[in-house]
C-alpha cells in the first residue's frame, strides 16, 4: 500500500540554508536546480525531435509539441468543465475517506483489543487493488457518480486508516504518560494528544490516498462517465485524436500535481511544530 511514493521533502529544508546575499541566493538556486532543468530540457528535446523527425505525419501516434499545445488551448474550456465534474467525485470521496480513516484509525490504533479485532481483516482487505471494485461498483450502485465516489473512497480510506492507526499506535510513551498525568481520556485524549501526534503519519497516508484517488477517479471515468478528465482522454481516443489525448494527459498530470502540492503545503503548515 505504501509503495506509492509521496512528495515528502524534509520539513523546513529552507531554514537550514544559511542566509546569503540576494544575487548569491539566486545563483545558488539556479545551481541547485541545474540537474532538474537538464532533465526537463532533455525530455522535451527528445519529444520534439522524435515527433518531428522519427514519427512522420503518416504516423500520428506521437503528435508534435506544437500540435499538443494547440489542442490544449482549444480544449481548455472543455478540460475545465471536466475538472469540475471530476472534482465533484474526487473531493467528497477523498474527504469522506480522510475523515472516516482518521477517526477509525485513531480509535483502533489506541486500543489493543480493536487492533486484534480489525487488523487481520485490514491486512486482507487493504491490499486488494481498488481498481477491481470499479466494474462491480458501477453495476451495483444506482448512479455512476455514486459508484465513482465509492471507489475513490475505498482507495483513499485504507492508506489513511492504516497510517492513522500506525501513528496512534506509535504515540510516544512520554506523551501518553503526560496525558494520563493530566487526566486526559476519551475524546479529549484522542483529539488533543493522539490526533496531533499521529498527524505526520496521517499526512503520509493522505498523500498516498490522494494519489490513489486520482488513479481510481480516472479509471472509473474510463468506464462509464459522460464528463471528467479520464472521460476526456477516453473520448478522443475513440476518434484517434492524439493531440487532444496527449493534451488531456498533460492537463490531468498538472491537476494531480497541483492537488498534491496543495496537500503538501497544508502538511507543512500543520506540522510546523516538528523539528
Amino acid at each position: 500500500m505504501t509503495s506509492v511514493t509521496t512528495s515528502l521533502e524534509p520539513l523546513a529544508a529552507d531554514s537550514t540554508i544559511p542566509p546569503a546575499p540576494r544575487l548569491g541566493k539566486t545563483l545558488v538556486a539556479i545551481w541547485q536546480w541545474r540537474d532538474a532543468a537538464l532533465v526537463w530540457i532533455v525530455l522535451f528535446a527528445a519529444w520534439y525531435s522524435t515527433s518531428h523527425f522519427v514519427v512522420t505525419s503518416a504516423n500520428p501516434l506521437l503528435p508534435t509539441p506544437e500540435k499538443v499545445a494547440e489542442a490544449l488551448l482549444a480544449s481548455l474550456p472543455e478540460l475545465w468543465k471536466g475538472t469540475l465534474s471530476s472534482f465533484t467525485i474526487l473531493v467528497p470521496g477523498f474527504l469522506a475517506a480522510t475523515l472516516l480513516g482518521i477517526a477509525s484509525g485513531l480509535v483502533v490504533g489506541t486500543s489493543p483489543r480493536l487492533q486484534r479485532a480489525f487488523f487481520p481483516f485490514a491486512r486482507v482487505a487493504a491490499p486488494i487493488p481498488p481498481t477491481v471494485y470499479v466494474p462491480y461498483a458501477i453495476a451495483v450502485l444506482p448512479t455512476f457518480h455514486l459508484s465513482a465516489m465509492f471507489v475513490v473512497f475505498i482507495g483513499a480510506f485504507w492508506p489513511v486508516f492504516q497510517n492513522a492507526a500506525a501513528g496512534a499506535h506509535a504515540l510516544e510513551a512520554r506523551h501518553r504518560d503526560a496525558a494520563r498525568i493530566l487526566g486526559l481520556s476519551g475524546l479529549e485524549y484522542h483529539w488533543r494528544v493522539v490526533f496531533p501526534a499521529a498527524l505526520p503519519h496521517i499526512f503520509s497516508g493522505m498523500a498516498v490516498g490522494l494519489a490513489f484517488s486520482f488513479i481510481l477517479l480516472t479509471v472509473a471515468e474510463l468506464f462509464g462517465a459522460n464528463a471528467g478528465l479520464g472521460r476526456f482522454v477516453q473520448y478522443y481516443a475513440d476518434f484517434a485524436d492524439y493531440p487532444r489525448m496527449v493534451a488531456g494527459i498533460l492537463y490531468t498530470g498538472l491537476v494531480t500535481f497541483l492537488a498534491m502540492t496543495l496537500l503538501d503545503r497544508i502538511r507543512r503548515r500543520a506540522l510546523f511544530w516538528l523539528r
Binding site: I181, L182, G183, L184, R192, P196, W273
Partner: protein, 264 residues
C-alpha cells in the same frame, strides 16, 4: 490535620518486570511538606518507584497510599515532571499549561485558564516565551514550562524524575533554585519527591535523602539532611558537615556495589 492523614506511605512495595525484580519491599513514610530526594545509581529502579507513586504502574506487592487513599492510577492530586521534556510539542506553552488548569478547574472559562497559565509561566520565568512552542526553546526553558504545567494542577505532591539530568550545570543550578523557591513559598506546603543520581543535588535540595541500592532496589540508607535553609552552594559545598554526609552516602553506595559484585 494529623501527620498520618496527610502523608505518603509505602508498605513493602515490590515490583518486577518480565520476571526481574526491580523493587524489593520498599517501606517509606513521607510527612506532608517534606522535600525528599531519592538517590541511587542509574538503573537502580528509582524512576520505577516514582512511576508507582504517580500511578503510571502498579506494584506487584505492597501498598502505596497518599493522603490515606490507596494510589490507583494517576490523579490530579499528584503532579509529575519527567526527565524527557514531556510537553506536547504541538501546543504553545500557554496551551500546554492551560490544559492542566482546565483539569484542575473544570468550571473555569477559557480566558481564566489562559490568564492562570500565564501566571504560572511567569512564576517560572518564562514571561518572554508564553506563545512559543517547545521546539523553539532550550531544554532548560522546556523544563521550566513542564514545572509550570505540574504546578498548574495545583496538586499538593510533586514527583520529579531526574528533571534536570539533561541540563547544563548553569541551568541546572538555576532550576534547582527555582524548585526550592516554589517549595519554600507554596501554601499549603507541597511535598516533593525528587529522584536524582547526583549526590550534591540530593543534598542541596532535600530535607532527607533516601538511598536505593541496585538490583533489586531497596532502601539502604535513609538520612536526614539538616543544613539550614536557605542553603548557599558555596558555603555548603565547603562545609565539614556536607563532606561527612557525602562520605557516608558514598560508603553506603559503595558497600551496595561491592555486595553486588560478590554475589555475581
Amino acid at each position: 490535620m494529623t501527620a498520618i492523614l496527610s502523608s505518603l506511605s509505602l508498605r513493602d512495595v515490590s515490583f518486577s518486570y518480565g520476571g526481574t525484580s526491580i523493587l524489593d519491599r520498599i517501606t517509606l513514610d513521607i510527612p506532608q511538606g517534606q522535600f525528599v530526594t531519592l538517590l541511587g545509581a542509574s538503573g537502580s529502579g528509582k524512576s520505577t518507584l516514582l512511576r508507582l507513586l504517580a500511578g503510571l504502574a502498579e506494584p506487584r506487592e505492597g501498598e502505596l497510599r497518599w493522603q490515606n487513599q490507596p494510589i490507583k492510577g494517576p490523579g490530579l492530586d499528584r503532579g509529575v515532571v519527567f526527565q524527557d521534556y514531556s510537553l506536547f510539542p504541538w501546543m504553545s506553552l500557554i496551551d500546554n499549561v492551560a490544559l492542566a488548569v482546565a483539569k484542575a478547574k473544570p468550571a473555569s472559562s477559557r480566558v481564566q485558564r489562559r490568564d492562570e497559565a500565564i501566571d504560572y509561566l511567569r512564576k517560572v520565568g518564562l514571561d518572554a516565551a508564553l506563545a512559543k512552542y517547545p521546539f523553539e526553546l532550550s531544554g532548560g526553558m522546556q523544563q521550566r514550562a513542564a514545572i509550570a504545567r505540574a504546578l498548574a494542577l495545583g496538586s499538593p505532591l510533586l514527583l520529579m524524575d531526574e528533571p534536570f539530568g539533561a541540563l547544563d550545570p548553569v541551568n541546572r543550578a538555576r532550576l534547582q533554585d527555582l524548585v526550592l523557591d516554589i517549595w519554600e513559598t507554596a501554601l499549603p506546603k507541597k511535598t516533593i519527591v525528587f529522584v536524582t543520581h547526583d549526590v550534591d543535588e540530593a543534598l542541596y535540595l532535600g530535607d532527607r535523602v533516601v538511598i536505593l541500592g541496585a538490583s533489586p532496589a531497596r532502601v539502604i540508607a535513609d538520612l536526614p539532611v539538616g543544613f539550614v535553609r536557605r542553603r548557599d552552594r558555596q558555603s555548603l559545598y565547603h562545609s565539614a558537615d556536607f563532606h561527612a554526609l557525602r562520605e557516608q552516602i558514598a560508603e553506603a553506595l559503595n558497600a551496595d556495589t561491592l555486595q553486588l559484585l560478590k554475589a555475581a
